[in-house]
């Protein structure tokens, strides 16, 4: 019965309706014909309701997608597990070395750092999260992340030259972490170390952004 599509402009009160409809409903009433007020109300409500029903699911989903920004880093809760890694209130992990056991001549030792890794719903207990260089300087203990601040390779200790050295791009550092050439953007990344009364050494393991001159934790 229908004579197929004849979008018949003659029946429309306003000829330029497509533009107004396409942009929004605000301008719809400007030059309308028969019942400007009623038509405007209908258009306004039609557009408003259309907007609401579209926006509600989209906003809900969008907020859900932003979850990583709200929640930040996933941290393992303090666990009652007997083999759980031991941390102090500053987030420093208890290492296997003591002030006593570190070489008195300041030779750096490499230590593997173990911690629980939380990945969304999984907890991986006591995983290797990285390694550090640690050395005794007098009665102090200093530690560096082994990750090179240049482009992220592993920094080695050159006993013969008495320095730290990155084999990838030849960055070199003195034993206090200061840079010895212009390849790395900054010195080695020192870590927060605490020596407790019982002589145990605790280190807060952190990673930092590479290739920039500032030390920015990630």
């Amino acid at each position: 019965m229908s004579e197929n599509k004849t979008p018949d402009d003659g029946t429309q009160p306003e000829n330029e309706a497509p533009e107004t409809a396409a942009s929004s409903s605000e301008t719809a009433s400007t030059e309308s014909g028969d019942q400007p007020r009623r038509n405007f109300m209908v258009e306004f409500f039609a557009a408003a309701i259309g907007l609401i029903v579209g926006v509600v699911p989209a906003i809900t989903g969008g907020l859900f997608f932003l979850h990583p920004l709200f929640k930040g880093k996933h941290e393992a809760e303090a666990s009652a597990r007997p083999d759980a890694p031991v941390k102090d209130e500053g987030g420093r992990l208890k290492t296997t070395v003591t002030l006593e056991s570190l070489p008195d001549d300041g030779t750096p030792l490499q230590l593997k750092m173990l911690d629980d890794i939380v990945d969304a719903w999984n907890l991986f207990p006591n995983q290797e999260i990285g390694s550090i260089w640690i050395r005794k300087v007098g009665e102090q203990v200093i530690a560096f992340n082994t990750i090179c601040p240049h482009l992220g390779c592993a920094v080695e200790h050159r006993a013969a030259k008495g320095d730290f050295y990155c084999p990838c791009h030849l960055s070199s550092f003195d034993l206090d972490g200061g840079k010895q050439n212009e390849i790395p953007p900054r010195g080695m990344d020192a870590l927060d170390v605490a020596v407790k009364d019982d002589g145990t050494v605790w280190v807060k393991y952190e990673k930092f952004r590479g290739a920039i001159s500032e030390k920015v934790s990630i």
């Binding site: 599509k5 429309q12 989903g61």
Partner: protein, 647 residues
């Protein structure tokens, strides 16, 4: 500026004509509420696309991560429960709207020439939407979805000739596993929505070609889609959205426990909108004709008539037949769905299985929320090593033939037998209810209400045989040695001044297992057992006179074969030793079978015992007590008969 830009855009794209055509479709007879259903379907589909893609960003399809990622969405992610809830309930809303749209098209005659093709396109869309519902139900990989979908893939295997191949292709192998999920997910999030969009474009294109089918062209002046019909459509969509939001917020999408291929879910049902089909193939007559007949041929035939409707309408009274047919089909669907709900609602086994799956679901979420989170093997392993979950099952399997737990079999179900007249009756237990085994009440009732406490033993075959043969039983609840002692105790402790002393003895015995107890009472209890008189001045025959292991370090119970060894009574160690070999506690009068390593392995025994003594922490509601439903042994005098002081 804006105008200039739009003019430029129109010149390059022709967008004005497109918008005009989209918005100014003629509606002869004016806008009507009855035209809104198609639009609500497009709207609900867009909700599904939006929420579906967002859920996709957090979903991980594999047997060890599907449930886990959905759990994480549901419990941990910001608004995850809401996004999942909207997706879940919008899917169900779509099936309802589909049915309404179909009925409306048929009763208005909108399927007739020249709109046949569009009607068929609509039927294809309906199938796609149902397939989306079916594939989506499996994705959380929980018990409910897993076993519901298993039924469907088993039905697929009943397809003639290529059945098993179809089934294997659908599930990615002969068994359910990783590839079942990856395949279902690809179908659900890729292939089916793609097809749906393609067919939806055709559907709308053909719809616009023929224009709306006016119910009554003279009802009102002609109107256009924008804004009159859009407003009505919008209000309808808002209504649908409101219902979905309310359900998502106040009911929420359930997540039952992780799929466990080793333990069938006895209340497996498809989603409610497929329930009529499930009930249909259960009709005896239909079932007798075979799965393929009931699940494929008959529904195929019924659907075929739907497809043939535009042709049928060409006959005289054809349209009337069609309208009658769709109403009859809907009535049948509603009726079968109603029957299925009613039957399940009144079926105790079904309700018990549901109660169990809800208990497990709450428990696994509680465990996953705990500090250990979820191990890499998947959340199923949390339940597999959980006393609260495994204990009842082991009890039901190994112990519930004789014992009960709060009157039920440990898993919330009464144990029943059908008697000669065909009536189902609760079976009389032949051993003690063990739910209170680790409590102070247990001890109190052993001391002052022994006959009643062990009363169910009188119902066992061995007891009756021994009575007939005139043999004496040590654990005879009527007239046995301890039964007589208990009667004397009941009399002693009925005296008000001795009430505190009974508490003290109970507390002392309670402390034997190493559980936390009131120190003062424990001490006083020990003194009484050591011979001190009761508050009333009466001297009491000490438990130690017979059970000489009370207070000892736990030793091999072989030393005391006639009076049960009470060293570390009801500790894990004591219970394990007891279950492994009760004859070491009761000597040759023992009637309980020994559970050696072949009968129950160490791991299961440990889980069972830890459950029995409540060695777990949970906030999850346990099964309600069914003690009232269990028949009492007739010969045993109750405490009230004897006037004993029990609490």
């Amino acid at each position: 500026m804006m105008r200039a830009f739009l003019a430029w855009l129109d010149d390059r794209t022709g967008i004005n004509d497109l918008v005009k055509e989209a918005l100014y479709e003629r509606i002869p007879g004016g806008s009507r509420w009855r035209y809104v259903w198609g639009s609500t379907l497009v709207f609900t589909f867009s909700i599904q696309v939006i929420t579906g893609i967002f859920l996709w960003t957090a979903y991980s399809p594999s047997a060890q991560t599907a449930w886990e990622s959905v759990y994480f969405i549901q419990e941990k992610m910001f608004l995850g429960w809401l996004v999942r809830g909207i997706h879940h309930f919008t899917a169900q809303a779509m099936t309802v709207l589909l049915a309404i749209h179909l009925i409306q098209v048929i009763i208005d005659g909108a399927y007739k020439a020249p709109r046949e093709v569009n009607f068929w396109l609509g039927l294809i869309l309906m199938k796609i939407v149902l397939a989306l519902g079916l594939t989506g139900y499996l994705l959380p990989w929980d018990q409910k979805g897993y076993y519901a979908t298993k039924v469907t893939t088993t039905i697929m295997s009943a397809t003639p000739v290529v059945g098993p191949q179809v089934q294997q292709l659908a599930q990615g192998g002969t068994e359910y596993g990783h590839h079942t999920l990856t395949r279902f997910f690809a179908m659900h999030a890729g292939i089916l929505p793609g097809l749906l969009i393609a067919f939806l474009v055709l559907h709308i294109y053909v719809f616009r070609r023929h224009g709306i089918h006016p119910k009554d062209p003279k009802a009102a002046p002609e109107s256009s889609f924008w804004p009159d019909q859009v407003l009505k459509d919008g209000v309808a969509c808002l209504g649908v959205l409101a219902v979905v939001m309310l359900l998502a917020i106040f009911k929420g999408a359930e997540l039952s426990p992780p799929a466990n291929p080793a333990e069938a879910f006895e209340a497996a049902r498809p989603e409610w909108y497929f329930l009529f089909l499930f009930r249909f193939i259960k009709i005896k007559l239909i079932a007798a004709m075979g799965t393929a007949f009931g699940a494929l041929y008959i529904p195929g035939l019924l659907f075929g008539i739907l497809v043939a409707m535009p042709l049928i309408a060409k006959w005289k009274s054809g349209h009337k037949f069609n309208v009658a047919y769709i109403w009859a089909m809907m009535a049948g669907i509603v009726l079968l769905t109603g029957i299925a709900f009613y039957e399940d609602g009144t079926n105790e086994d079904h309700q018990a299985a549901l109660a169990e799956v809800h208990r497990d679901g709450a428990r696994v979420t509680e465990l996953a929320n705990g500090p250990m989170m979820i191990p890499v093997e998947g959340a199923g392993s949390l339940l597999a090593s959980d006393p609260f979950t495994r204990g009842p099952r082991i009890f039901a399997d190994k112990c519930a033939a004789c014992h009960r737990w709060n009157g039920h079999n440990g898993r919330g179900r009464l144990i029943k037998m059908t008697d000669a007249s065909g009536k189902s009756q609760v079976t009389m237990p032949v051993a003690t209810d063990l739910a209170s085994a680790s409590s102070r009440e247990w001890l109190r009732s052993v001391i002052v209400d022994y006959s009643n406490h062990f009363g169910h033993l009188t119902q066992s075959r061995w007891y009756k045989a021994a009575k007939e043969a005139g043999e004496e039983e040590y654990i005879d609840p009527i007239g046995g040695e301890m039964a007589s002692a208990s009667e004397a105790y009941a009399e002693l402790f009925a005296k008000a001044e001795n009430k505190k002393d009974l508490d003290a003895i109970v507390e002392h015995l309670y402390s034997l297992s190493g559980r936390k107890a009131d120190e003062t009472l424990v001490e006083r209890g020990g003194a009484i057992l050591g011979g001190e008189p009761l508050a009333s001045g009466d001297e009491m025959a000490s438990c130690l006179d017979c059970h000489d292991t009370i207070g000892s370090d736990y030793a091999s119970p072989e030393e005391a074969p006639y009076y049960p060894d009470l060293a570390e009574y009801m500790s894990k160690k004591w219970l394990k030793a007891f279950i492994r070999d009760p004859s070491k506690f009761y000597g040759d009068k023992n009637q309980m079978p020994a559970y050696d390593h072949d009968a129950i392995d160490d791991r299961d025994l440990d889980l069972l015992v830890r459950w029995m003594i409540s060695d777990y922490q949970t906030e999850v509601h346990d099964y309600p007590s069914r003690l009232k439903d269990v028949p009492k042994p007739p010969e045993v005098p109750t405490a009230a008969d004897k006037g004993a002081a029990t609490e």
